[in-house]
């Protein structure tokens, strides 16, 4: 039996020390957990910031008529297909006249991104008047040069072990002196689809894919979820059937997401033969996943509408359906929307089920509709994270920053809705 008479100061000191210790452990646990959060944000943003800038090289490009448009037709399509490599080479040779050997010339050309010629082709295709003129243009540099400019190439390493050779570094330094190389805002990152070359790859395709998937997801999960909640809260009597539905919903909320992917694979693709790798199927799978979240939130919102409102409507002669859809549902709408937005945010970050239905392919084109092949933002992150190319590391981090920014925006919007529209009864 414990000795309750022990109230000597020594014992009390011990107990107080234990108290202080306990409190510190608690504080430490909170700090450590938040520390992980900070560490994660910090390590990703320090790696990702660089990707928002892209090294460009300034060249004096002469759009040579004889090379590009020998027939003088100025046909935009013809111009977009012409070969721009010679005129880029020419501009480079003018800049570095001392480079004579074939091999050196080739490596000189490699300072530029292989996408630079496509930029020129687009430019000339849109504006045929350029042909014959000479323009000072900033063209994207290759990923290696970009990494060097961002200080991510270890120059102390032996030349053989580096992809960027000494002569190339010397050229870059010459360009630096002439102020013809510098970092500019990386617009390609937001306006292009995926690419094998880090400096040409962008997240537009993935963003559109995510957006289309969410659109499909919302247009299915929201109505079905809300109507289910309305039925369970307002109409259904508590029977074994409704109990079963309840258990089901709670259970589905905790089923591993990858299982939903397998469901999509074998039913939507296997049985219904829907097009593989498309936002349509992705959205459907995400809808099934978010359904429980939306139902649970919508039910909570309906429950918070006081019964007096319903009784008043019924008392004035409204029918049950009128009471529900004219009064209870509109009043619960802010809460329902808040829950739906949070569910959508969860769906936006989901990766595993999309891998199962094939939204994991290498896709360059930006999807135009829900039946085009596409990836999504988290899947793009997964694909880039897997890539051995060093230039993709910062792009992966930057894509994560964009994804997190979207998630934060959605969450803030949900908080805003709750603060502004939700009534406290």
């Amino acid at each position: 039996m414990p000795d309750y008479t022990l109230t000597t100061s020594e014992n009390l000191q011990r107990r107080h020390a234990a108290e202080a210790r306990f409190r510190w452990i608690g504080r430490l646990a909170v700090l450590l957990s938040l520390g992980f959060l900070v560490l994660m944000f910090f390590s990703i943003s320090t790696r990702g910031m660089g990707a928002f800038g892209q090294t460009h090289i300034q060249l004096e490009i002469h759009f040579d008529e004889a090379m590009l448009d020998p027939n003088k037709q100025r046909d935009p399509q013809q111009l977009a297909r012409a070969n721009y490599k010679p005129i880029v080479n020419q501009a480079l040779f003018e800049l570095f006249p001392e480079v004579q050997t074939r091999r050196a010339q080739r490596s000189l050309y490699r300072l530029l991104s292989s996408g630079a010629v496509f930029d020129l082709a687009n430019m000339a295709g849109q504006n045929p008047d350029l042909v014959g003129s000479t323009q000072l243009l900033w063209l994207p540099a290759s990923a290696e040069v970009d990494l060097f400019m961002k200080g991510k190439v270890d120059v102390s390493l032996e030349e053989k072990l580096r992809r960027l050779k000494n002569n190339e570094i010397a050229w870059i330094n010459q360009l630096k002196v002439k102020r013809q190389i510098r970092k500019k805002f990386n617009t390609a990152f937001f306006t292009k689809g995926d690419s094998r070359e880090p400096e040409l790859s962008g997240i537009l395709g993935a963003m559109i894919g995510s957006f289309l998937s969410l659109l499909v997801c919302f247009s299915i999960a929201f109505p079905v979820g809300v109507l289910t909640a309305v039925y369970l809260e307002e109409f259904a009597k508590k029977t074994r059937f409704t109990d079963l539905i309840e258990i089901n919903i709670n259970n589905l909320a905790a089923v591993p997401s990858i299982v939903f992917g397998l469901l999509g694979l074998s039913i939507f693709l296997g049985v219904f033969h829907m097009p593989r790798s498309t936002p349509l199927v992705g959205g459907l799978v995400l809808a099934l996943m978010t359904l429980p979240t939306i139902i649970i939130a919508a039910r909570a919102a309906l429950r918070s509408v006081p019964n007096t409102i319903r009784e008043a409507a019924l008392g004035l002669g409204a029918s049950k359906v009128q009471t529900t859809f004219h009064h209870a549902v509109p009043l619960a709408m802010p809460g329902m929307l808040t829950g739906t937005i949070l569910g959508m945010a969860g769906a936006l970050g989901e990766t595993a089920p999309l891998l199962m239905i094939g939204m994991v392919a290498f896709i360059v084109d930006v999807p135009q509709g829900i039946t085009d092949v596409a990836t999504s933002l988290p899947v793009q992150i997964f694909l880039w994270a897997d890539s051995p190319e060093k230039g993709f590391v910062e792009r992966t981090s930057a894509a994560i920053m964009v994804l997190l920014a979207f998630l934060v925006l959605m969450n803030l919007f949900a908080v805003f809705l709750r603060r502004k529209l939700e009534k406290q009864w």
């Binding site: 646990a29 938040l34 109507l227 289910t228 539905i245 591993p256 469901l263 074998s266 899947v379 997190l404």
Partner: protein, 318 residues
């Protein structure tokens, strides 16, 4: 205007009633969707798994000690018959989940205790959403963090003290998964702790116990069931988690107790079996569905138990 006649009123009344009936039936059909999803999951998994078990006996799948799902291209190939024993995968899954729970349980629980018993309301108001932010971060981000930051860190620390650690290790994946689970445990436990009636807390403090003694001797025992429920729910998350392990745990299926080695999990194998080229009825593809069925049943058991416990807990103090 002449008031409508009784007959007309009755007719419109009937029409309204019919409309309402239709609407209610439509609502009921919607609520069936939730059941349909479950039925769909069970049916699709069971159907494919059944085909798998016609090729590979159930006992071999459940008790086999080897996992190497290669199927033969030619009949006379060496090692032509794949080995489909789930135990190495289960072992890897359990090891990573155990590490994750070992990280998340103390951190989550102590955070919940601190926030519910000690923190000032002002601190609580901004710390709680910050912790929940951890739950909102997509798992692919955790996976990237594990592969890019945590795994190299563990590796260099290991080589610093003379351990050879592979770049993909159960430890890295488990640690990061533990961080992911903190908010699941902390916010559920926080709810549970706050639900313990104030009177119990005050009685203990009034008798002269310190706050920590109150927590240990009164509140935790009272909240026991709810906390266990939240831990089970977190464990079920850990078992079903995919992206972190795909990106950080590796592919080598072996039964080991060494957390510094690379292991593989059930979810990783499902992903590897089903991404890339696949024939739909090969044992390799079907094996993914068998694993998924096993995973589904396992997590469902955990979920049902934890939901039951939490429910019962709620009714005690409601």
């Amino acid at each position: 205007m002449e008031p409508p006649k009784t007959m007309e009123l009755r007719r419109t009344g009937k029409l309204v009633k019919l409309q309402e009936q239709i609407i209610i039936i439509a609502l009921m059909l919607c609520s069936l969707a939730a059941i349909l999803v479950t039925v769909g999951i069970v049916a699709s998994l069971a159907f494919e798994a059944f085909q798998f078990f016609q090729k590979i006996p159930v006992s071999e799948f459940l008790f086999g000690l080897e996992w190497s799902p290669q199927t033969a291209i030619r009949d006379d190939q060496v090692g032509a018959s794949g080995k489909f024993g789930i135990l190495p995968l289960l072992g890897g899954t359990l090891m990573i989940s155990t590490i994750a729970m070992a990280v998340a349980t103390p951190l989550g629980l102590y955070s919940a205790i601190y926030l519910s018993e000690y923190a000032k309301p002002r601190t609580r108001v901004w710390v709680k959403p910050m912790l929940e932010l951890l739950a909102g971060i997509p798992t692919v981000v955790y996976g990237f963090f594990a592969a890019l930051v945590v795994a190299p860190l563990i590796r260099s620390t290991g080589s610093g003290i003379g351990f050879e650690i592979s770049s993909e290790s159960a430890l890295a994946a488990g640690l990061v998964m533990g961080i992911m689970l903190i908010p699941f445990i902390s916010s559920l436990s926080d709810d549970v702790l706050c639900a313990v009636p104030k009177t119990m807390r005050e009685a203990s403090l009034g008798l002269g116990a310190t706050r920590s003694e109150t927590v240990k001797n009164v509140i935790l025992p009272a909240a026991n069931a709810g906390i266990i429920g939240s831990l089970l729910l977190a464990a079920s998350r850990a078992i079903g988690e995919t992206m972190i392990v795909v990106m950080a745990a590796g592919l080598s299926a072996k039964l080991t107790l060494n957390p510094l080695e690379a292991v593989t999990t059930m979810t990783v194998q499902i992903v590897t079996l089903l991404t890339g080229d696949q024939e739909f009825d090969s044992a390799k593809t079907l094996a993914a569905f068998a694993i998924a069925l096993f995973l589904f049943v396992l997590t469902m058991i955990l979920n049902v138990i934890s939901l039951k416990i939490v429910d019962r807990y709620k009714t005690i103090y409601a």
